[in-house]
Symmetry: C2
Subunit: 207 residues, 2 copies
Amino acid sequence: MRENSPNFSTRERILGVAESLFAQHGFSGASLRQVTAAAKVNLAAVNYHFGSKDSLIEEVFRRRLDELNRRRLDALAAATAKPGHRLEDVLEAFVRPALEQSMDSAGGAAFVRVLARAYAEHDERLRRFLSDNYGHVLREFAAAFGALLPHLDKEELYWRLDIVAGALTYAMADFGVIKRKHDVSEHSHRERTVEHLIRFAAAGLRE
Amino acid sequence: MRENSPNFSTRERILGVAESLFAQHGFSGASLRQVTAAAKVNLAAVNYHFGSKDSLIEEVFRRRLDELNRRRLDALAAATAKPGHRLEDVLEAFVRPALEQSMDSAGGAAFVRVLARAYAEHDERLRRFLSDNYGHVLREFAAAFGALLPHLDKEELYWRLDIVAGALTYAMADFGVIKRKHDVSEHSHRERTVEHLIRFAAAGLRE
DNA sequence: CTACCATTCAAACGATCGTTTGACGCGACG
DNA sequence: CGTCGCGTCAAACGATCGTTTGAATGGTAG
């Protein structure tokens, strides 16, 4: 059952197609006419259901980010509750929910790319939206990391977490200039990518 | 002396301003009218001097990437010539030229952001241009890494190098959701970022 | 001075952008 | 049956996009 199936509502088809096209061409690179044509809906449907293109972009995030961050906070709580938990546990709480979300639906993989794109976009409006709605998640993780890394002051810690977040996000998004021939075991590749990245990040944070 | 100084030619002012605006708003997000207005030149000057917007984008890359990759290949040759050279030496040959370029001119820092943006853009035309003109550099580095990592087959090696390249590029570009308050020692921050990233990458590649 | 060439300029081109409009189909409800 | 509201539709809005045009400009060579 594809995203343009008539079994999906107009609103849901728009969200699914927009997620995919934003991942491919960026937010300003994908036009509403491309989106509505691919979703086989009328052009005006976007402004009817979402109000504007910017609101559509926000909704693309909200649809998946709410659940993603809920899972992240649950995993973080489970990790920090365990006495003697390690840095790798906190890192995994941040990364594994994104990995799982990227595998459990067709649009999940596209959404991780959208997330990575948002990270690269310096658009102030989009950054403010993400900061306002999901900044508390980053702050909770920063606190958990800080407790495990008492030798780092706050500025140093945030600076390194920024690097780690960028590396993790972009590796998850599978961006890259080199094309892989066989995508047969993409899931296991992704799984191993996460493991390696956690090692990367843990080593760099501890130093 | 600013980039819009009359001491710079029209062509050079366009290149400098375009580099900065592409870094801020992306290639499709920055219009030629914004570029020419900021550079204080006529709108038609872009098509007169470069032929098209796409050609301008290519020229923004070519202007700095030629020298960057020449420095990278020189550093790589120096690193591999040394007997008993380590993985960190090859990584540094890849990263340090970008670091130096980002500090020796006002536009250099912007260009590193442009480079990172190109990495995220999935635009097929741009990727082909970069692959055609600078693919040999990546291939030489891949060979040098492969010689140091004989336990990895070619596909595995390329897959990991992709991750490493993404992490390094984005950290260099200073993307991030968390704003730092004091940019007083940005250069030393960047320097230390590179050191940490090399450790990250070396640990992950060796595993 | 004249002729020429490179460059700059205002203006306009057609295309495409996000958005708005008003009519239309149609099931729900009194 | 009438009507009300939700969703969809074709069409058009003004704005902005990349690009092109043709005239004006200014320096240089014959």
